[in-house]
Amino acid sequence: MAADPAAAPRQPTDSTNHGLRVVVAWLILSAIATPLVAIYVGPLIPPGNASVQAQGQVFTNQVMVSLLTPVLCLMAVFFGYGLLRFRVRRSEAVLDGPPLRNDPRVQILWIVITSAMVLFLAGFGTYELLKDGSGGGQGPNPIALPAGHKSAFQVQVIGQQWQFTYRYPSLGGMESNQLVLPANTLVALHVTSLDVVHSFWAIELGAKADANPGVDNVAYVETKGPTVFHVRCAELCGLWHGYMFNNGRVVDSAQFSSWSAQEQRIFASIKHYVNRDAPFAHIYLPDPARRAG
């Protein structure tokens, strides 16, 4: 392009070190904001501390908001300073800015920092995931196994339009429409479906696993003290999807024994209708899923 400095609109001269100002303001703001966010905002993020996995998620969220706060601060400082300092009023003449086209140092610094953050996040996320599965559904062959998973308390969660049924293989295949779990226990949730895709979401426990027909989707969750939690279907499953919710309870072991004894008495009278030999899902399909004509 033919450079013709005489014809170019005059560029304003400016020797202020704007970059230094922004960096200093950013460092100060980040140093103040990051601990505040980490300490006060992070722990407020759900799902809370009703289970070990939920606590793990809260910790993950805490780390992430702490890491993202400096990013937010940089943007706030940059745009706050830049837009105020370099603005031009509409009435003023149109001048061109300095023709800065590149600065390899800035590019390399930016690439290094964003790459480091991304790799840290991925590494940290993988570590947190593999530690105990984070309460997420992992399919029939889970790889993120919490300690003591072999002796976990087994519960099968069976989704259908539009409710969840809970089946306790270790209690004689007893079934209930209430999810009651013993306190301070590692629970293996085996989630499956009879018809369409559902998603079992125990909100306060921080557990979510899709219910797929013919698939045993395992999620681990380790309960803590007695509490009440909400269960909702989190995958669109048809007409009454919005009504597919329920409450669940975590109770201490004495209460759990009395509850299960009572449920087993009720269940005994109908057990012969529910012929179930294998403990888990695959043969649970009653009929081919027919279209609701």
């Binding site: 392009m1 304003p12 937010l72 745009f79 996040l121 557990a207 669109l236 999807h241």
Partner: protein, 630 residues
């Protein structure tokens, strides 16, 4: 070159209505619809009465709409040229490239006409989709089902999502790339002008098909259409299948056309490093379109076979796999969301230099960012399936690849920010929308970190959190830049200025109420409200009502825009100067509106269009330069 074409005496109106135009297209389309409908009934079933009783014959829905689309295209005149060639007539290039409003309602091969057709056509469906959102928020004013029956509510949700995701895939490439890419690369047309027109009219046919799904009971699946729910759904789901398949055809052809045009038709001197960044954005998006659309079309073909021919690709109960559907859908679906987002990046980077009065900073890095996002978007799709139980051991890989995509996205941020740095920033309406993009996409990107990490995704997946996230990225990323492009280029496209004061009112109300609508949804999602529910815990009513009222105000801000558009273009009609923004881009060196054949002589490029502060704009056709090819 003015529009004073050869003037012949105009025939009377009734005579002009007869011919290959949209009216004939609709009439033949309706005829073709009934041919398909009764044909399928006659072929498949015992009798019409039988299907009348069971109210259920999917094949007839498919054949009816296929017949309708074919009739519509015949009526538009898409078969004339192939038939003429078969009969031995010589090839010709152009159709309806003359002045007059009728060309907007017929097959026109002028890329500028197609761009304006796209703008109004997509705008129409954008407003229908937005109206659906208003109705959804009306229902969610109350924690219990109040206004709509549950099935109607799900249809509204599905229509909103499908309309927005389907029609807005071409939201920027349709109007702005069709209009601007040939001009920006110094060409007089697209590589395949008839295919260009076809993509638009196919999209309009698709929009009509989706809208009429309400006459077949709607569909309960949302825009994702997961099997096996899709297999038990009303015939309205067939409309969804046909709609998305036609969108796929239109999208793939549009992408191919763009790639061919950009690769082969650049004017002399327009090397790859001089290409406007918008053209790079179009190219990277077009690659995604061409590669993603076939996956979508094939998947929906299998759904159609499952529903009509009793195959069971996606039916677990009969040996199929619903995971297969989810895999295929998201293998299309994740590139698809970058088809929506990437043109937004390009528009921001195209407009920032004009109003910061500085060259685009880090041109090569910006290109690398666009191409990097385009490439990486193919390796992330199973992050939509983190808790589905599919490939549990691949989750760390998808977590890494999803987070990696923020590196090339960061390039766009860096280039945009450094372009602003030490600039002479003027806050015009298009600039305001571009600056809002930084805020919106930052919030969208940072919330995306929570969804990309499996551990925090367990809670946020499928909740209103993810809904808020993708509205920040797609509405905040695409729709805001869509409006930036409208305020920036519509004066050039129509030759009339838009009202700036109304534009500012539109921007500030939209920005304010957009955030007021979607920011609380992050909290609502964390607190346990899944997507697409018609009920929610009464404790969340305050937040939901806040969101609903903000959403209505957001809707009103869109009416401000609509008023501005109609008022400025239909009533005030203040002529736009050739270069209202003092831009160095080539389209602003041409008169407003751009004449029919763009350039008197094909221009010769001697630099990129971002040389602010580097001297006067070079002449389009330097003296003594060889004439470019047509």
């Amino acid at each position: 070159m003015t529009e004073a074409a050869a003037v012949r005496p105009s025939p009377p109106l009734w005579r002009r209505l007869l011919g290959f135009n949209v009216l004939t297209g609709v009439v033949l389309g309706i005829g073709g619809w009934y041919v398909g409908w009764f044909g399928a009934h006659a072929v498949v079933g015992p009798s019409l009465d039988y299907f009348g009783d069971i109210d259920y014959n999917e094949l007839s829905v498919y054949l009816a709409y296929l017949g309708g689309v074919i009739g519509f295209l015949v009526g538009m005149g898409f078969l004339n040229y192939p038939l003429a060639r078969l009969r031995g007539y010589p090839p010709s290039l152009r159709e309806k490239e003359e002045a007059g409003w009728t060309r907007y309602f017929s097959l026109c091969t002028d890329h500028k006409v197609v761009g304006i057709q796209y703008l109004w056509g997509i705008g129409l469906f954008f407003f229908i989709g937005g109206l659906n959102a208003m109705l959804i928020r009306t229902e969610l004013l109350s924690p219990h089902r109040q206004v709509f029956p549950a099935g109607t509510y799900l249809t509204l949700v599905g229509m909103h999502g499908t309309m927005m995701m389907g029609m807005m895939t071409s939201g920027i490439l349709g109007p702005f790339a069709n209009y601007l890419v040939p001009i920006m690369i110094g060409a007089r047309r697209m590589a395949f002008p008839r295919i260009e027109a076809l993509t638009f009219w196919l999209l309009m046919a698709a929009g009509a098909i989706l809208t009429t799904s309400i006459f077949f009971g709607g569909f309960p699946t949302g825009w994702t259409g997961y099997a096996p729910l899709a297999n038990q759904a009303n015939p309205g789901l067939d409309n969804y299948v046909l709609f998305f398949a036609l969108v796929g055809v239109s999208m793939g052809l549009l992408g191919l056309n763009m790639i061919a045009t950009i690769l082969t038709m650049r004017a002399p001197g327009l090397t790859w490093t001089r290409l406007p960044i918008f053209v790079w954005g179009v190219l990277s998006t077009a690659v995604l379109m061409v590669l993603a659309a076939p996956v979508l079309i094939a998947t929906l073909g299998m759904v159609a076979l499952d529903r009509t021919a009793q195959t069971s690709f996606f039916l677990p109960a009969a040996g199929g796999s619903n995971y297969l559907y989810q895999n295929l859908f998201w293998m299309f679906g994740h590139p698809e969301v970058y088809v929506l987002a990437l043109p937004g990046f390009a528009i921001v980077l195209e407009i920032l230099p004009v109003f910061a009065r500085k060259p685009l900073w880090g041109y090569r890095l910006a290109v690398a960012g666009l191409l990097g996002v385009s490439l990486l978007s193919w390796f992330v799709w199973q992050h939509h399936l983190f808790v589905s139980g599919i490939n549990g051991d691949l989750r760390p890989f998808y977590m890494l690849s999803t987070e990696l995509i923020s590196i090339p996205t960061g390039f766009t941020f860096l280039c945009g920010m450094m372009t602003l740095w030490r600039g002479q920033i003027r806050f015009t309406v298009p600039m305001l929308f571009c600056l809002a993009w930084f805020f919106n996409f930052l919030v969208g990107g940072l919330s995306g970190v929570f969804l990309s990490d499996v551990s925090s995704d367990v809670t946020t997946h499928g909740s209103f959190f993810s809904m808020a996230h993708f509205h920040y990225t797609i509405m905040g990323g695409l729709v805001f830049t869509f409006f930036a492009a409208i305020y920036y280029w519509v004066p050039k496209m129509t030759g009339w200025q838009l009202n700036e004061r109304l534009g500012r009112i539109h921007f500030w109300t939209m920005f304010l109420f957009f955030n007021s609508t979607f920011a609380p949804l992050f909290a609502i999602g964390f607190l346990g409200q899944p997507r697409r529910v018609v009920t929610y815990p009464s404790g969340l009513q305050f937040l939901n009502d806040w969101v609903s009222i903000s959403a209505f105000c957001l809707g009103i801000s869109m009416l401000v825009f609509l008023f501005n558009l109609v008022w400025s273009l239909a009533f005030v009609r203040r002529p736009a100067p050739a270069n209202p923004w003092a831009s160095r881009s080539i389209e602003f060196q041409l008169p407003s509106p751009v004449p029919v054949h763009n350039f008197d002589r094909i221009p010769v490029f001697s630099g990129d269009p971002y040389g602010y502060g580097e001297g006067p704009v070079p002449s389009l056709v330097p003296a003594g330069s060889p004439a470019g090819r047509d």
